[in-house]
Symmetry: C2
Subunit: 208 residues, 2 copies
DNA sequence: AGCGTAGCTTACCATCGGTAAGTTTACTTG
DNA sequence: CAAGTAAACTTACCGATGGTAAGCTACGCT
């Protein structure tokens, strides 16, 4: 339980920094998800990693820094999968739908870590909350940028606001779906489409 | 700076419990909003209230308990204003619109406390997060209950999910509006209506 | 007047975030 | 293959903070 991902056959202590950092983030996500950010202690995380506390501080600077690193890593991954999803689709409707599916799939795949960690992140005053904010902004930006091709420049303010609503709505819906685990990412995406697509389409000169 | 709201003319020390509790919650909201939950110390809150720390523990049990109490109080108020708003309106469309306006007005009126406190609340493991969850559920329930009058019983699952999306979307949009403070609650509500009303109307047999 | 209890305080503990200073292991390089 | 060196790692500690035990004090009541 404590020694999680040993890359080498026998017990190997020393690890290169990058590898150790990844292991630390994995363990941290686990502990944060279990206990919540406040109740998690750096001592416990260190112990589970199988290393002493100052190593965590060497690599992440602070407890908050560790949380921020976790969120940032997940955020990069989220941006990657959603961007890829909208890339190979033609027409705004299909783009939005695919992006939504990718989003809900991502959440589903990381639910033990992402939702909890992201929820927790709202706590720590500046940096972690900022990081989460950045995650949401990156999603709204993606939506706006995607739609921008089909909309008169500059994008109307309403489109930006609509993107905000969609991102927030998805975040909430994902949480809801967690309690009804038999709903598929496709169903969730379809539901958001049914609810909002007409409202969005009226912002575009003509839908494809 | 330390002695904030003295209810009686001269310096009065002793206060009845209910009054003291309210004062404590007010101060706590202030401090949480300023420093963030983690960085706020019970010592500082106690000092600002002008009372000693064990009083806080006497009345709220723990730091988390204090936060929960703050959220719960705001939550009750939010339920009150939104319920009242939808009460005197006829037809589902007007109900939803009025409810939305009331919501955005509430957020606007409490932005220094509610958004911050609610954001912070996600941190503490069980109870505070639960409380926030309850706040959202109470809003979705209100929407569903309001719409239920116009919809075949039992309310379709889609309606519940749609309510989730709306609540989440509003939460996010409120945050966005905070950065563009010239947007009115009415505008925000209208935007949500424009985006989602058509999608909702199709769930109702026929709109009024 | 006096007495019970709600309101309140002082003084303390344990835990946890964070750090200084030193030790060990692995990799390079002559 | 020694030997140097830098990165990986540890022990031992500090101060602040959440939380508590035990006792004091003023208000209301008979």
């Amino acid at each position: 339980m404590s020694v999680s991902s040993q890359t080498q056959p026998a017990r190997r202590r020393r690890m290169p920094r990058a590898e150790r950092e990844n292991q630390m983030m994995a363990v941290a996500e686990e502990v944060f998800a279990e206990r919540g950010y406040v109740a998690s202690s750096m001592d416990e995380i260190a112990e589970r990693v199988g290393v002493s506390k100052p190593m965590l501080y060497e690599y992440f600077g602070s407890k908050e820094g560790l949380l921020v690193a976790c969120v940032r890593r997940a955020r990069a991954e989220l941006l990657r999968v959603t961007t890829e999803a909208v890339a190979d689709a033609q027409g705004p409707e299909e783009m939005l739908r695919r992006g939504l599916v990718a989003y809900f799939q991502f959440i589903r795949a990381h639910e033990q870590s992402w939702i909890v960690v992201s929820g927790q992140a709202a706590v720590v005053a500046p940096s972690a909350a900022e990081e989460l904010e950045a995650a949401r902004r990156q999603q709204t930006d993606l939506i706006v940028a995607t739609m921008a091709r089909y909309v008169p420049q500059p994008a109307p303010m309403d489109l930006v606001a609509a993107a905000e609503v969609i991102v927030g709505g998805c975040e909430r819906l994902a949480l809801y779906c967690q309690q009804n685990p038999d709903t598929t990412p496709e169903q969730a995406a379809e539901l958001v489409m049914q609810l909002t697509w007409f409202g969005i389409a009226r912002l575009l000169p003509d839908a494809a």
